[in-house]
């Protein structure tokens, strides 16, 4: 049995994907990494809002004409709309329209319609796998797609005694780290990318941090970030960074994103209802976390020698 810790890294979807393997050979690690890279690329090719050749771009430029889509696209957009309904439209994949109008991603030179179409105008045809968008509607399901790709890669790693996938800060761990120990994962300081603010010990868990400090800029004098509450078209305030731990990275990422979008009150309510361990940094710097998170927490000073 191999006991080495093996690291592999590749780049996809504009993010770095770092894989750590325990209990397999170098050659196996190469093979598994190549498989994972293929999985990520296929999601990127299909769902990128930054690629003119993607299926998503075809859908986003369909201008009200029904589009036959792949089963993968159909499922992802359906899931997005389900989350939109659950959050009364705070989460809405139609956010792509606003981001595109800021010049962030495609379609290029996009001008926002006076009335921004919402998730409610997306029409699904279950029989023919067709999606019809409203004219000028641009979808951005990226937050969901990344974690779905991580889950798919995780399934491809099935059978490996221990592994961790870290895709741009979204983490999936399975099995254990060396010597049967759990994985120690730190949470980045939203104000300083080189600093951390907390750490947890997890095994067989997904962990995701969503923050308003990642993609952001300014539009007509108003600061924006990529997480926009579509109920009012404004960027959400209240939570700077939300970390959620769940069995899958998909759940963790979805809940972290929703927490930011819903804001401190509704966000915390939703997390409490679902019982996921969470760690939030509010805009004023205060921390909100639950007992489930504290149970996994390890003091940073015990991890730094």
């Amino acid at each position: 049995m191999e006991n080495k810790i093996l690291h592999r890294l590749f780049h996809t979807m504009g993010i770095a994907v770092h894989c750590t393997f325990i209990g397999i050979s170098d050659k196996d690690a190469d093979i598994r990494t190549a498989e994972a890279e293929k999985i990520f690329s296929s999601y990127d090719e299909r769902f990128s809002r930054f690629k003119e050749t993607s299926e998503l771009h075809r859908l986003n430029t369909s201008n009200g004409i029904p589009q036959k889509v792949s089963i993968e696209m159909f499922q992802v957009i359906k899931e997005c709309v389900m989350l939109s309904k659950e959050t009364s439209g705070a989460f809405d994949p139609s956010v792509g329209s606003i981001l595109a109008s800021y010049g962030y991603g495609l379609p290029a030179n996009f001008i926002l319609p006076d009335t921004i179409p919402t998730y409610e105008s997306i029409v699904f045809n279950n029989q023919d796998l067709e999606i019809t968008l409203a004219p000028g509607q641009v979808l951005e399901p990226a937050s969901l797609v990344k974690s779905i790709a991580i889950s798919a890669a995780g399934q491809a790693f099935d059978g490996i005694p221990g592994f961790m996938i870290n895709a741009g800060g979204d983490i999936l761990t399975r099995g254990t780290f060396e010597k049967g120990l759990p994985w120690n994962i730190a949470i980045q300081d939203p104000r300083n990318p080189r600093a951390i603010v907390a750490a947890v010990s997890i095994r067989n868990a997904g962990m995701a941090t969503s923050g308003v400090y990642q993609a952001h800029g300014e539009h007509q004098g108003k600061p924006w970030h990529h997480l926009i509450n579509m109920q009012n078209g404004n960027t959400t305030r209240g939570i700077t960074s939300a970390t959620v731990i769940a069995h899958t990275c998909e759940e963790a990422d979805t809940e972290a994103t929703l927490a930011i979008l819903l804001g401190p009150t509704l966000g915390v309510m939703r997390l409490e209802q679902r019982g996921f361990p969470y760690f939030l940094i509010l805009d004023d710097g205060t921390i909100r976390k639950n007992a489930a998170f504290t149970a996994l927490e390890v003091p940073i000073d015990t991890l730094i020698s």
């Binding site: 300081d189 600093a195 020698s305």
Partner: protein, 191 residues
């Protein structure tokens, strides 16, 4: 074969084998010199004179001017941001250059978070933001700074006009507690 041709043949063999050895050495050195994930200095080194913009003094009220920021290197490629300024206001932000994937052969050298490793930390991963966005932010800042030097008055006071993110700290800092106002070097990302 004449002696001259023989000598010429020898010369070519020697010349090309020396050349290929040279290329291999240069290649290996370059491959070795990949920046580590945990260290910011390399990713945040701007390539000189990449910033371009319209000629100063040609600003006309009501027109939109596009200003391209410096290109920042990340372990995965270059990142360049551009802003569109109209009447002293940033009306758009674009990231025209998106990093390409490096060959996976470099993977082993990247060992994630060398900085944390160097500090002897027992941490296997960090959940949070990505490098691309960090470089994007720096490039954005340089575009805004350029807009100012060209006589554009940027009226909005976001912190992204600050330059502190470009100067990396000497080593990773690990605050034990998160407080709102104790970190002078930390940039406000929001307001």
């Amino acid at each position: 074969m004449t002696p001259f041709k023989k000598n010429l043949q020898r010369f070519f063999i020697l010349f090309f084998s020396t050349l290929s050895v040279g290329i291999i050495i240069v290649g290996v050195n370059r491959a070795k010199k990949v920046p580590t994930l945990g260290e910011a200095p390399t990713p945040l080194t701007p390539t000189p004179d990449q910033g371009t913009a319209g000629t100063p003094g040609t600003m006309v009220a009501g027109t939109t001017v596009s200003i391209t920021g410096k290109t920042y290197q990340t372990p995965y490629g270059n990142v360049t941001a551009a802003i569109q300024v109209k009447d002293g206001k940033v009306v758009g932000v674009t990231m025209p250059q998106v990093p390409n994937s490096p060959p996976s052969i470099y993977a082993e050298s990247y060992l994630v978070d060398q900085a944390i490793k160097a500090g002897g930390a027992n941490i296997q991963g960090v959940s949070g933001a990505t490098y691309t966005s960090l470089a994007f932010k720096s490039s954005l800042e340089s575009a805004i700074a350029q807009a100012k030097t060209q006589g554009q008055t940027i009226t909005t006071g976001t912190a992204s006009t600050g330059s502190s993110a470009v100067a990396p700290g000497p080593k990773p800092s690990v605050p034990l507690q998160y407080r709102g106002d104790d970190d002078d070097e930390g940039e406000e990302w929001d307001d």
